[in-house]
Symmetry: C6
Subunit: 76 residues, 6 copies
Amino acid sequence: MALVPDNTLITDTPEQGRELAIMLARKTIAAIQTDGEVRQMLRPGYATNADSLTMAGHVVAVEFSTVAAANNYWRT
Amino acid sequence: MALVPDNTLITDTPEQGRELAIMLARKTIAAIQTDGEVRQMLRPGYATNADSLTMAGHVVAVEFSTVAAANNYWRT
Amino acid sequence: MALVPDNTLITDTPEQGRELAIMLARKTIAAIQTDGEVRQMLRPGYATNADSLTMAGHVVAVEFSTVAAANNYWRT
Amino acid sequence: MALVPDNTLITDTPEQGRELAIMLARKTIAAIQTDGEVRQMLRPGYATNADSLTMAGHVVAVEFSTVAAANNYWRT
Amino acid sequence: MALVPDNTLITDTPEQGRELAIMLARKTIAAIQTDGEVRQMLRPGYATNADSLTMAGHVVAVEFSTVAAANNYWRT
Amino acid sequence: MALVPDNTLITDTPEQGRELAIMLARKTIAAIQTDGEVRQMLRPGYATNADSLTMAGHVVAVEFSTVAAANNYWRT
């Protein structure tokens, strides 16, 4: 299983960088809980809990800070 | 759905950078919980819980650190 | 409402930078929970809870790391 | 009340930088909960709770990362 | 016990960097809870709890930010 | 009590840097809870709780990010 899609942190745009950050966060969870059925079972519970969503959003924010730095913030 | 409004991290001012940080945080939540009605349903509960608000404020702080770095802190 | 007082991250001193970090954290909460009466109602509960205070202190620490970097750490 | 003792992030040694990080964390709490008696009342509870201690240690770690960067990591 | 496999943060690819980040996180836990049987005993509980998984994913994100910076983000 | 062993963030190797990060985290806890018997009493509880271990691992990750930056990531 690939933890880093396309094996690069470089993206063309901030939007794609954000998508990558979300994927990085998800791939890590999948590496820890390898059973996809369990992950699906857990989804409704956390997707309807505000604090769980905030925690997930926090992880994406941390991943994105790395991706954004890798891309020099897509400054033109 | 756009995760990064206008597909850029560059803003004219710190104030606009802060607004962007809040939007980035919200767009992530919307990407995880795509049902807007569920998000609206969750809002009263977390908006009246001090710790939930602090957690949300934390995510904004992390997003802002990235936006601020992207803009070289709007130094003149 | 201003999210960034005076619309700048630049301050004269570390002390003022710290005050700004606290204000940034508070302004975010006020942007999420816009009802000042609710915020006042929540205050006693979290101000007498050690973990809530630690969480709030954490957000200030993250905001301050950004403000300090913006000011090149006020090195002379 | 001073949030930043001596109004500087610069210290002579890592040890002093660590002490500053602890003080920065404590001063923030004191700025939020200004009643010293309440703070004293809360202390036994969190000082005997492992997770509360870990959370406090985390805040110190974040403050220290800023202090250490300000001092160029005290490289000689 | 080695806390840092091969005693280096340098990897050939982002994928390997991500694997290292996961290993760093795990080695720390093993250094704190040295009894492998206890760690195995704890695994089912946290691997089926969404918030526990998110917290674990967060630690990996923080470790990865360090590994990625060490490798200059594998820019070519 | 020394908060920073040997009063330096510089280490010869990543492995030693990781050991330092763990010690920094522990020294902070000892500075907050100065009673070693209390700390020992708390240990079994958090060392058998997955989330407590993850939180402790997170603090080490943050400390290590500072130590690694101080050492320029031990690039050769």
